[in-house]
């Protein structure tokens, strides 16, 4: 087990350990730890104000953490020589000078990173901004165009790691589809992607791994498969075969859990009745844990929601 953990740590391109940010008494980010590994897309999920952006700013050296630390490619961000060549960062697509043209923004980036000027046109093409759009000032861009420009900037240095904060905001459905493909292929080529979102459905399509944050704390961290297991009941019996038959008879769909029990799409009472009818001895019967990411996420969101949802 320790060997596995070591291997995991050794391969992590992004490590965040016990990162905290306090503003006075308010803990915006509270002992956040997670990792992101190469060849995968890690979704950083949380409601607005949960601490996603603050965490990402700390990772990029823009906000000094109150405690904890983070590394990219094994070193603190500040120690990366020419960071743009190692990690593409897009924290806010709107944070661009309104009076500068899109092409000029990329040209400045290319100069700092030491890239040939031809890279500017290449990147405009990659993100689907036309030549005339590149000549327009960013102040006249839609949010979707700014996102494309920001992604072009992040990808320009041919980095191994991408850190993107809400990159799908303002993109139209075709743009969102395009970006998913782009991030997936980036990960397939061995890249590491960390992208944040406040929309579960937006992220579950593209992410392999999910890190969920709420009120500054990590509330879930695991593979998408683990976290998205449907809500239901976990049941275990002395005779697993008989138990399965009883569930079949009652018409409750189920899947086999990792340690021999069943995850059933039914309430505990329904499962109990089915087992009793078949005379199967039940050794464990409880709500499936780790299930219901969406429920948990909704809970998180509604707890923080400005308008209270009446139950």
């Amino acid at each position: 087990m320790w060997e596995g953990l070591r291997l995991r740590q050794a391969r992590a391109m992004i490590t965040v350990e016990e990162l905290s940010k306090r503003y006075g008494a308010y803990a915006a980010v509270d002992r956040v730890s997670f990792r992101a590994e190469p060849g995968s897309v890690t979704g950083f999920l949380g409601p607005n104000g949960a601490g996603k952006s603050t965490t990402m700013r700390m990772m990029a050296g823009l906000t000094p953490p109150s405690a904890g630390h983070s590394t990219i490619l094994g070193v603190p961000y500040e120690q990366l020589p020419n960071p743009g060549r190692h990690v593409g960062v897009l924290l806010d697509a709107s944070a661009q000078h309104a009076g500068r043209t899109g092409r000029e923004v990329l040209r400045l980036g290319a100069t700092v990173m030491g890239l040939p000027r031809t890279r500017v046109d290449e990147m405009l093409e990659v993100v689907g901004l036309s030549g005339t759009e590149g000549e327009r000032r960013v102040g006249n861009y839609s949010l979707g165009m700014r996102q494309r420009l920001g992604i072009a900037h992040a990808l320009m240095g041919d980095p191994q790691v991408l850190i993107l904060d809400e990159p799908a905001n303002g993109l139209d459905p075709a743009g969102i589809h395009w970006m998913r493909g782009l991030l997936k292929s980036f990960a397939e080529r061995g890249g590491t992607v960390l992208l944040s979102s406040h929309l579960l459905h937006e992220i579950e399509v593209v992410a392999d791994h999910l890190v969920v944050i709420g009120r500054g704390k990590i509330v879930a961290d695991g593979s998408k498969a683990e976290l998205l297991t449907a809500v239901g009941t976990l049941v275990r019996g002395l005779d697993a075969g008989a138990l399965a038959l009883s569930l079949d008879d009652a018409g409750h769909p189920y899947t086999t859990a990792h340690d021999g029990g069943y995850l059933v799409e039914a309430t505990g009472e329904q499962v109990g009745i089915a087992a009793a009818k078949a005379g199967v001895v039940v050794t464990e019967l409880r709500a499936a844990d780790g299930a219901g990411l969406e429920d948990m996420f909704l809970q998180l969101t509604s707890d923080d929601a400005r308008e209270k949802v009446s139950a």
């Binding site: 391969r11 190469p38 700013r57 823009l62 906000t63 953490p65 020419n82 944070a95 661009q96 100069t111």
Partner: protein, 266 residues
């Protein structure tokens, strides 16, 4: 941030690509120079400096008595528009990173903020020297035209010390603007305070009789008054400039630096 708190029982398999070198300062300087002109605001500000310099000389050439058409006076008329606009250039160069929020990209590409600040200051000094050189050249042209067109006095009595003081005054204003920009990180506030504070301060020293002796030590404009009056800085003037310059330029630069290096970039 400490990396020693986490036990490291293994050598991490990942590390930054060693073939990628750090960013040389010259690239930052090039970028910061370019950023002075590649926005609409920056372009027109620099254009205004050029246009007003030429316009001031052109108007002066025909507006005053020919006996006053000397090189010294031509240089002096260019000093006013430049003296007002160069500090604004200094302010905008730094406040744009915060008000336009480009700092999010700038300081992500170069986490060492001091390198960015140094590149900015150097780029501003280059722009300031170019503006002063333009002044001296256009004023010389004006003087020649004054002789040719209006039979002007045409004297060239502007010695090296005069050039030195002129350059100094303009660059002091530029750096002071830069310092106010770093300190306030807000374009409007920095511009207003840059212009209002010294005036209010100056009025204070003018109105309160007992402060007159202290004025050249504490008020930068009083310390620089000899230059505005067509003299050159000499003797005690330098002590005045050292003290008031520390108060109005060096201290704001230092405080501004502290704020800029520490502030969270959002």
């Amino acid at each position: 941030m400490s990396t020693t708190t986490a036990p490291a029982p293994f050598r991490p398999a990942v590390s930054p690509d060693p073939s990628i070198a750090g960013i040389p300062f010259s690239r930052h300087l090039r970028v910061e120079l370019r950023k002075l002109v590649d926005t609409r605001a920056g372009f027109w500000l620099l254009a205004a400096i050029g246009i007003l310099t030429v316009a001031a000389v052109a108007i002066y050439l025909f507006a005053v008595d020919p006996s006053e058409l000397t090189y010294l006076n031509f240089v002096a008329v260019t000093a006013t528009p430049q003296g007002m606009l160069l500090p604004v250039l200094g302010i905008l160069a730094v406040t744009a990173e915060w008000s336009q929020r480009t700092g999010l990209v700038t300081f992500t590409q170069e986490p060492n903020r001091l390198r960015i600040v140094s590149a900015k200051l150097l780029a501003l000094l280059v722009a300031g020297l170019a503006a002063v050189a333009l002044s001296l050249a256009v004023a010389a042209l004006g003087n020649v035209l004054g002789i040719a067109l209006r039979d002007g006095a045409g004297t060239w009595n502007f010695e090296a010390a005069g050039v030195r003081d002129f350059v100094l005054v303009q660059l002091i204003g530029l750096v002071q603007g830069f310092a106010f920009g770093m300190l306030l990180m807000n374009t409007a506030a920095a511009i207003v305070l840059y212009f209002v504070l010294p005036i209010a301060w100056n009025i204070l020293f003018t109105l309160v009789g007992g402060l007159a002796d202290a004025a050249p030590w504490l008020d930068l404009n009083t310390a620089l008054a000899p230059v505005f009056n067509g003299d050159t800085l000499a003797g005690n003037d330098w002590s005045h400039l050292a003290v008031s310059g520390t108060i109005w330029v060096l201290v704001p630069v230092a405080l501004g630096l502290v704020r800029l290096l520490r502030r969270e970039v959002k």
